[in-house]
Every structure is written in C-alpha cells, then in structure tokens.
Symmetry: C2
Subunit: 143 residues, 2 copies
DNA sequence: TTTCCTATCTCAACATATTGATATAAGTAC
DNA sequence: GTACTTATATCAATATGTTGAGATAGGAAA
C-alpha cells in the first residue's frame, strides 16, 4: 500500500504543532515562551557563543535570533558582551539560569504526556525514522 | 534503551521545519507561500466555508486565518461573500484555482524528495506512529 | 422585549520568522 | 594600502502566529 506523502507531512506538522502548544502552555506559568526557553537552552549548552553560532544551532536566521536575543536581554535572562571581531558573546544571567531550571521542571511532565501513547520500542522506531529523514539531503533525488 | 523525549521532539521539529522550507521554496517560483497555498487547499476542499470553520480546519485561531484570508483577497486568489449571521463564505477565484494547480505541480516532486530516504514500509510505519500520537489526548496521563 | 448565551468576525498589541539590504571587523590578494 | 572576501550583526519590510478585548448576529430564557 502506498502512503499519501501529503498526509504524512500534514501529520508531522500537526504533531509538532501540538508539541509546541503543549510545551508553550506549560512554560507560560513560568513566564517564558517555548522559543525563548529553547534559546536559553542553546546558550546554556555553549556559553559565550556568538549570535551567528546560536542562530545556526537553533536552525534560524541571524536576524530572527537577534531579535529573540534582544528580548531575552530586556527580560534580564541573558547578557551580551563584545567578543573578537563583530562577535557578541552570550551568557545566561542568574535569572536566566533560574528560568531554564523552572522550564525544565515544567516541560518534563509534558514530554512524557505527549509521547505517552507510544511504548519504548515505538519511540525508538520513530526516532530512527526521523534520523533517517534528517540524514538525507533535502535535494536528493527520489523515486 | 530509553529514548530521550526532548531529542525526539527536536527531531520532529527539524523534520517539519525542513519540509516547510523545502515546500515554501518550491512554491516561491509560483508566487505563493506554503501557508497561503495550504489555505487555498482548505478552501478548495470545502468551498463556501466560514473563516471560523477554515481556521479550525487548519488548526489556527480565527484571527490568524482572518489576516491570511485578507492577504489572499488582496492577491486575487479568493472571494469572500456574506453568509448567514456573521459568517463570511470563502471561494476560490479563477486565479486561485490556477495557483492551487501550479502549487500541486510544484510540490509533488518535493514530497517525493523529502521522503525519498524511507521505503514504503517505513513510510507506513511513520504514518501509523504519528496517527497514534494524534489519537491520544495531549492531557493524557503518561508513565 | 430585555437579558443572556453562543457563534463569528475584527482590532490591537505583540512574538516569531522570513528575505533583502546594509554596515563593520578581520583576513587575503594584489 | 587598496581591493576582494568572509564573518558577523543589524535595519527595514513583511508574513505568520499568539492572546486579549471588543463588536455584532441570532437564538434561548426570563
């Protein structure tokens, strides 16, 4: 039987959309959005990174990350310091670390709920299939 | 072995993001965005629908669909006519039908390229796993 | 008919993302 | 040192999405 690829794509989109909404809602109680929390995680994984590097790490344009970072500065979650060349180094503030931890606690439950309908083996299968999709070049020829 | 759910979620997001970009790029040659083309598809599936119904069908707020529809009107792709109550009925124009068809031709190749790294059985497995995720209530308890 | 509820649409403010253009720092070539 | 290139950041315009707050049409209840 042939799978309808449009439907497959729409299902992927819906799952991702649902994940986003559920995580965002859980984080709202801690006063931060999913996107902003994601950025805090990226900075925490590689403190001192440039905006350019962080944008690449979160699969965004430099511009998008720039505005996001400026909102995080306004909120007091991160600090930006000049680095070599045009680079700007990013670091979490104490508030930023706190928000990151609060977010971790808030999202932990949500992840388990979102994937609760899959057993261990199914989750692994899903991960493997997604890895395979991501490993292939988007421009690859296909039959 | 236990699957890292955060990683699983991030993989889902990346796949969806890549799909979006690839389809959007293919559609750009036809002069329309993926989001707008998606709306044309929804209207074509149920001509005469209200903005409220179409918003629900595309998993969006009424407001988001409203601004999208007004852009589609400006572009000459759809017409809006008053219906019963406060409802507004949505219909494709001739240009809208043309854009829809052009989009179909442009996206066909892309879908096959995006999922080219999965064989038939793997695609079906992926669809089944996503269906299972979507069938479960997001609020469900999970262990 | 006044009140209330629900459905539907819209306005306003804002967050997030895109493309395109521009500016600046540093390195490389001549 | 001037020109070219690359890396990095930013401005501007715009598309897309959210929440919150109305506004209006129609039906139900008193």
């Amino acid at each position: 039987m042939t799978v309808d690829l449009e439907r497959l794509g729409r299902s992927l989109k819906r799952v991702q959309h649902r994940d986003h909404r559920a995580l965002d809602a859980a984080l709202r109680e801690t006063g931060i959005s999913l996107v902003q929390w994601d950025a805090l995680r990226a900075i925490d994984r590689a403190p001192g990174s440039s905006a350019h590097a962080l944008a690449a790490a979160s699969f965004q344009s430099d511009q998008a990350f720039g505005t996001l970072a400026s909102r995080l500065v306004s909120a007091g979650y991160i600090e930006r310091r000049p680095g070599p060349g045009r680079r700007i180094e990013h670091h979490l503030t104490t508030d930023g670390h706190d928000a990151l931890d609060a977010g971790r606690r808030a999202t932990d439950r949500v992840w388990r709920a979102l994937f609760g309908s899959l057993d261990s083996e199914q989750r692994m299968t899903l991960q493997l299939l997604l890895d395979r999709l991501l490993a292939s070049e988007p421009g690859d020829d296909a039959g």
